[in-house]
């Protein structure tokens, strides 16, 4: 039976207020709560549901980044992934094309029937990796999935996609790449029994060099700035004043 590979990214927690480093080189991440990218949680949940429905035999989570990514992988294992792979890429940022190349290399080794990723990571909002890796692998892709139905016999996935103005349903042959949108599912919590089981699961550590992938930065970040501060609102004392200010100051009337 087929295997599912899920990519999970460690990002600044969704609920943390983002701060830019003083030198404007990047977002501040030291002493900041980091968690699994919410779209990756959804990707993992979908993989687990497919396995639980009997359409897959194993779910492998992979994360690319610094040593602390193992914490994110621990979460993945506690949620129910069977094993994990950590590609230790050091502290420098890894951009989508490099991530896609690493994932291709792992796919070639693991030979999964499905690669599921979040549609984007909430830190850099690239929304590129899934599409790139599908291109590199020459696999069909179902992006922005809000519903996934697998036909085990025919080896086909039916993916409902959230597109502008509605839903699009496509049918793709396996193996395939799927990227997940927000409404696909509600990820489960890590329960104590599963956290306990996760203790005996393995996280294999490899380097990009092991996969013969050279980390190249095609992008140079010039500057990171905070969005402009919103001006404080004003309380008007009468309807006349409101009309007056809409006319003369805002010039919308």
């Amino acid at each position: 039976m087929m295997k599912i590979l899920v990519a999970v990214k460690r990002v600044v927690d969704y609920a943390v207020k983002i701060r830019v480093k003083a030198d404007k080189s990047a977002v501040e991440t030291s002493n900041v709560k980091m968690s699994m990218n919410p779209f990756c949680e959804i990707a993992l949940e979908e993989a687990l549901r497919i396995r639980e429905a009997g359409a897959a035999s194993e779910v492998v989570a992979v994360s690319i980044g610094p040593a602390q990514c193992t914490e994110t992988l621990r979460t993945a294992l506690a949620m129910g992934a069977d094993r994990a792979v950590h590609v230790d890429a050091g502290a420098a940022p890894v951009y989508p094309l490099s991530v896609a190349k690493i994932l291709r290399a792992i796919v070639e080794e693991e030979k999964p029937g499905l690669l599921i990723l979040g549609k984007q990571a909430i830190d850099d909002d690239c929304n590129q990796t899934g599409q790139m890796v599908a291109g590199l692998l020459r696999w069909p892709q179902g992006t922005f999935a809000s519903k996934v139905v697998l036909d085990k016999e025919k080896q086909v996935a039916t993916v409902e996609r959230e597109v502008d103005g509605g839903l699009e349903t496509i049918s793709i042959d396996l193996p395939a790449v799927i990227t997940t949108d927000l409404r696909l599912n509600q990820p489960r919590y890590a329960t104590l029994p599963n956290i306990m089981k996760a203790k005996s699961k393995t996280i294999k550590k490899i380097s990009p060099a092991d996969l013969k992938v050279e980390l190249r930065s095609d992008i140079e970040v010039v500057q990171v700035t905070e969005p402009p501060q919103r001006k404080a609102g004003a309380i008007v004392s009468s309807v006349d004043e409101l009309i007056h200010r809409l006319k003369d100051e805002a010039r919308v009337l």
């Binding site: 927690d13 609920a15 968690s35 699994m36 919410p38 506690a78 890590a190 104590l192």
Partner: protein, 492 residues
């Protein structure tokens, strides 16, 4: 708030039979003119809609008939208002966010409402010692966001944080969710500025940790529920913000397991525990039924009890490892039947939403009789079971609260307020509490609801001394009358 029944039929449901004190004057047009003279006109509110809101408490259980709401902008305004009211013998009720649960923050009759919400300035924050000075009308959540930005946290946190004001918190000695970690406001308040009934300003606004010069009067005002004076400024300790917070939502089969789990947690997690909350099945059921967007973290099967443990430390990995190890051990010991650990902040807040959503769920379910009891931990849940047996299927009895502090919130939910049910609950609940030497008010205060119940928890001699103190600070009795102490003590 949608879904809350109209309040008309719910008012005056707690058997209050106090008569208006005839020695108080009634408001006349000269009084209004005077207040308009000392305050901005817009801060002298006679608008009916605004008065309706200020006359009714959060639970829509108590309703006064005040004709005047004053919004002082600073301590001097408060002093002038009180001096005048005292000279005219006009009774007043100090009001903050009006989130109290015992009818303490709304007028009983026509008392003038002095609302502190326009006094919301932060005076200073000492970033070396973590000492905040602010005006009494600052909203707790705003203060917390402010100090968090500077690396500190407020030493108290409660469900009403988005509306309640620090002055009201101090005046009622509010406890809340982090009491187990940071202790009572008696331990965290360093100084107060208070205006007495006659307009005298008591400047006790020091920021010293140690100060043994005479009687420490500020403590009298902490928990005085506005009966001795109006707190206008507060100096309090803000602990350093812990960089890591871990939260687990657990299921226990019985109350014995909850107790043992608490003992074990104190032993193993010690100083890291920042909350230890428990909820019975019926409380959680209430939240799930009435709160949108809340889901049961342990849906597989129902459990009799749920416990929420929060630990906060300065090291995330250490925090997590320690909590995990403790919980796995507790599970092996059979104390915990199932549980989940929050993997991110969103999950953490969804666990908290369950615990914090209970009061709102109860409010939406219909009428609710609330009791806030301090009890010896061994018998803390027995009262819930006895009450449940006593009321049968006429009411839904739920128990939850701050187990780590021995504080039970006993709530009795019915379709409507009914004197027959009330007579089944009271005085039984008070007598039961007195019998085990508990307190009939752990953190909510006495307010109007329990003013004449104080003797269940305090001796006659103690109440007598309290009465003398009240008369000393407020000889005419204008400060928040009919509350905290039995009114009959002031009638002769």
């Amino acid at each position: 708030m949608a879904g809350i029944p109209l309040f008309q039929h719910r008012l005056f449901s707690s058997g209050i039979d106090t008569k208006r004190n005839t020695s108080f004057s009634t408001l006349n047009s000269d009084d209004i003119l005077y207040f308009k003279d000392i305050l901005d006109h817009k801060n002298v509110v006679q608008d009916e809609d605004r008065l309706v809101a200020a006359n009714v408490d959060w639970m829509r259980k108590y309703k006064g008939s005040s004709q005047l709401l004053l919004l002082p902008k600073n301590s001097e305004d408060v002093a002038k208002i009180l001096k005048y009211c005292n000279s005219r013998c006009l009774a007043v009720v100090p009001q903050g966010g009006n989130t109290g649960l015992v009818g303490g923050s709304v007028p009983v009759y026509d008392e003038v409402i002095i609302n502190l919400s326009a006094m919301d300035k932060i005076v200073s924050l000492d970033k070396v010692n973590g000492i905040l000075i602010c005006e009494a009308g600052c909203i707790l959540e705003n203060l917390n966001s402010y100090v968090e930005n500077e690396g500190f946290v407020m030493p108290l946190d409660l469900g009403a944080k988005g509306s309640c004001q620090i002055g009201g918190n101090v005046a009622t000695n509010a406890g809340g969710l982090h009491f187990i970690r940071y202790g009572s406001l008696h331990a965290n308040i360093l100084g107060l500025e208070v205006i007495l009934a006659d307009g005298t300003t008591l400047d006790m606004l020091t920021t010293l940790r140690k100060d043994n010069t005479g009687y420490d009067l500020k403590h009298l005002f902490i928990g005085s529920e506005g009966t001795l004076g109006i707190i206008t400024k507060v100096a309090l300790l803000t602990p350093c913000k812990p960089s890591s917070r871990s939260i687990a939502f657990l299921a226990c089969n019985d109350y014995i397991c909850c107790q043992k789990l608490l003992a074990e947690a104190k032993q193993s997690l010690g100083e890291a525990i920042s909350a230890f909350e428990f909820m019975d099945y019926h409380s959680v059921e209430m939240v799930l039924a009435y709160t949108e967007g809340v889901r049961n973290p342990l849906p597989a099967s129902p459990y009799n009890f749920y416990v929420l443990i929060e630990t906060t430390t300065s090291d995330e990995l250490y925090d997590r490892t320690k909590l995990e190890a403790f919980l796995l051990h507790a599970m092996e010991m059979g104390l915990v039947s199932d549980g989940v650990i929050a993997q991110d902040l969103n999950q953490a807040s969804s666990f908290w939403r369950i615990r914090e959503g209970i009061p709102e769920g109860l409010l939406k379910a219909g009428a609710v009789y609330k009791y806030d009891l301090s009890l010896p931990i061994q018998v803390l849940y027995a009262i819930v079971e006895e009450m449940r047996a006593r009321l049968g299927n006429t009411a839904k009895v739920v128990g939850y609260g701050h187990l780590g502090d021995g504080n039970l919130h006993l709530n009795i939910s019915t379709t409507h307020y009914d004197d027959k049910i009330l007579s089944e609950i009271e005085p039984f609940v008070y007598e039961w509490t007195a019998k085990v030497r508990g307190s009939i008010s752990a953190e909510h205060g006495l307010g109007l609801m329990k003013a004449d119940k104080i003797h269940y928890s305090k001796s006659a001699e103690t109440v007598q001394v309290m009465t003398s103190i009240k008369k000393l600070f407020d000889p005419k009795g204008i400060m928040n009358p009919y509350k905290l102490l039995p009114h009959r003590l002031f009638q002769d």
